[in-house]
Subunit: 306 residues, 4 copies
């Protein structure tokens, strides 16, 4: 028996890069949070403190900022692919790279009813996400791209039921045929590229389309359970986009409890609720094509680490 | 010399009330966080633990929820006034009440281009606020109403300079004639009501108008300092609304530092920035009418406590 | 009627300064978060964007870091006094300064039972605070010093009652003679210095003493209300330290609700609780000497701004 | 090609259970945050909204609270095993369960130098964690137990170098032979039980021992890289506890940058630092026995979901 080094990676997390395009009077803004992680045989750094194969995390940072200008930063999926490929292709000891990106949306301020050229308000609640993984050198290289969002806070005031569930001796919950259903949705979808280049995907249009489909489906499906709503949302997305292999959703059931006003002689016909903090239900589900290619390391967050 | 009880108050903080109006198929939602605080002679509770003058914080909570139905919850300023007056008018030992409210905005989901009747997305970033103070009983009763918002995140990519500042031996800052200016604005405005009733104010229209004026002014004023921009924003608001006595603004200068790409031979003409976290400049300014009535306890947050 | 500039101030918030003393093998660490704010006649900056009287917030930052070495950073009250006096004494347009400081405590790691010379763990939960205000130049200069802590999380599992309270038609709360009492205490005490120099106060010993008195009193007072416990804590502190003019406390009543296990035939004699998040009671009280000197601007947080 | 349901699970997250033992005048407190997740064939709930196999998340909550009394809540690993086995053994459609627990530590208040019987202060910074996974029914049942902590904030003011690293055209970092090294450590260790019962493990003693070994090793290893320090910490833990199969660590390199005081003519010999927020290095490494049994689903957080 002996003790050995297991999986490991290292990088620079949360580079807060803001990229302005100002080639015309109408500026564009891309506001992102980029985390890099490199994988490879960095055993010497761990075992004897030898850094000769270790590209500093500071260098990873410098590269991320410089690439925002050199290579551009428009779609985060493209930027992430270029950055990840650079680390694997150009840094000899690096066998794999993972780039995780969050993007914060801005919308133009309206002045006298017209969009302003260079002033913006932070938009909405949700954060767009991407996770790009590259493994292998040369012709053996493979790429995986995941898009997504988090913190999409959505609520319906009716059109949601929950009843006829399994009961045991600890079951106190009463069935309901009309409740508020609310969540702060995390969704991640895995792109499929037959030739591995991801060269022809309309990243921006796809993002907008997926979000609209998910939001519309949440609204229009009469829900018998959050599980059912999630499945229908995922199914509708996969049906619309054949280049998506799967979608994963994590949905806290943000409980809104009907407040009991009967002690005060006040009726409450689903009008006054307490928005509770904790605990909350947590529903997690994935929907996939049955011929989806293998996910490989696509979902491995930070090399298997929480 | 003796040791005595000083100012004190107590209440129930952060009641997360969600009020749905569902009288028609097109539901409305008001999503608020209500904090109550009562003032009066509660000396016995402190000195000898005698609660006979203390209306429990739980009762304050029950009242806040029940009033959302009994009295309605549309404009938070109206709701706060009604709730505060109840505590002062109807609970004998209470001589003053302060209600602080946050409101979270929602917007309707679009389905096939039409607004959905009962499904909503959390909207924007800013939180609307109100603080209502009532003091005194009967004809001696006075009221103060403050409206506002917080976390309005706004940024302009140009149109901001900073130079010709005071220098001393610790001054390293370089002047600039073109920088990003960004803040997460807190603004609070104090309403003035000649008869103290606040009966004829269009709370919703005023809120929308103030926000639009502030955002437009931020966009269109060519800024020589954040101080100047804030003053112009406040002045424009007071000019538009004669029933506002003053406005206070607190604006973190969210620094976006131009990233130095010159070591890599890459130009950076205000294109790539690092969005820094801490430290940040913090600019605070108020604008008022020179004949504004006295603010009294309007601004006293939680009875003088942080 | 005209519109005018009201109270204003500006500074650099949240400078995260870490000061190491390494004059002997046994290092010392002071880990602080310093916010500066300057007051004076900065009207030109607001009205016409003229910065000639404005010492940049960047300069304030540089000074705060340099003074940590030049003047030393041991007791935060001393450091704050020196820094505040510098801004008022040495920068002509500045008439007042406020320095707010948080200090994070560290404790030495134990290795083989002995304290290590230069390795530390973050200690405890509470953050020590100070707020120093200087106003006026030369012989007219006055100083105010507030010490304190926040986030002192304390709980007792018994020895707390609540009953015989005022009831109205919204009162549902049941009286109790045995409950958990828990809070996350904020306390701030105002020092009094007859000659205004604060020259002979043992800042470190006083802090440790106040904390011990407050914690002991919380433990040993049989509580009929959180108000009573707070008053006794404040009174004991003022009795022990004659150079304290007053103490202010803000105490969320962190509710621990007894969980109803009776549906499962399980007894629960104050053994299983739900630690609730929101809403929470919020009790705020001050205790002072009846001959306490005027507080002046000591408590004015950020110039009257929230 | 068809679209199908993939991996899924559901449960109740963040049950904030506080368990008091009061059988003697000296009370004990266990303060935990419990999340449950059930796995099985819940296809009907997703596909057609049929809940007949779904034990409500509310029931999972009720069970978690009731078990804190019925079965006791002392070591979180034991409590998690009992709760997970109940769901798998006693609820027919459930084939697997995962229980994740955080525990917040408290220490007794000192009164006149003695530990108080029933008053406690929140202790330290780190949160203890556990993750228990049970899969399979009857004799095929298997169990995995992970212990750990997060937010252990540790810093050394010297004894850390970083140099002789790989350089490319984006490398600006200067080598150093003396720097602050600080992290907020997350560690998780996987227990090994030959008979799968985990019956003879001293959970409390092991936790205290692992923490002491890690902290001591961080202090005493002269560090050439955070990677090296982490490896030595993990190796020391595995050498001390033969019933641990592996340990995983995630360590943000909390940068403390030496502040440049030279423009002011002030020396700074590793005395004044800026504690930076973002970005930060992130080093992740695992150490394991080369004969460690397979991890199975032990590390699968929330069924593969972030």
């Amino acid at each position: 028996m002996s003790i050995v080094l297991g999986p490991h990676q290292y990088g620079k997390a949360e580079n807060r890069i803001v990229r302005i395009y100002r080639d015309s009077p109408r500026h564009e803004i891309h506001d992102v949070n980029v985390s890099t992680a490199l994988r490879g045989s960095f055993d010497a750094a761990h075992l004897v403190g030898d850094q000769s194969d270790v590209l500093p995390t500071d260098t990873q940072k410098q590269t991320a900022y410089s690439y925002a200008k050199e290579k551009g930063l428009e779609s985060i999926e493209d930027y992430g692919l270029v950055l990840a490929r650079h680390f694997v292709d150009d840094v000899e000891p690096v066998s794999g790279a993972r780039i995780e990106i969050e993007e914060y949306a801005w919308e133009r301020v309206l002045v006298d009813g017209s969009e302003h050229d260079f002033t913006f308000l932070r938009k909405g609640q949700e954060t767009r996400t991407a996770a790009i993984t590259i493994e292998g050198k040369g012709s053996a290289q493979k790429a995986w791209v995941i898009g997504g969002f988090k913190d999409l806070v959505i609520l319906k005031t009716t059109g949601s039921e929950f009843h006829d569930f399994l009961e045991d001796e600890y079951t106190l919950l009463q069935p309901t045929s009309d409740r508020i259903m609310a969540t702060s949705l995390v969704a991640q979808w895995r792109f499929f590229s037959p030739d591995g280049s991801f060269g022809d995907i309309d990243w921006e249009g796809t993002y907008a389309g997926i979000k609209q489909i998910m939001v519309s489906t949440f609204a229009t499906v009469h829900s018998l359970a959050l599980q059912q709503t999630l499945y229908e949302m995922g199914k509708a997305v996969l049906e619309a986009y054949p280049f998506l292999a799967e979608i994963r959703m994590s949905a806290p059931n943000k409980h809104h409890f009907l407040y009991d006003l009967s002690p005060f002689g006040v009726s409450n016909d689903n009008e006054v609720f307490n928005a509770d903090d904790r605990p909350y239900g947590l529903i997690q589900a994935s929907v996939l094509r049955d011929d989806a290619p293998d996910a490989g390391p696509a979902w491995t967050i930070a090399g298997g680490f929480a």
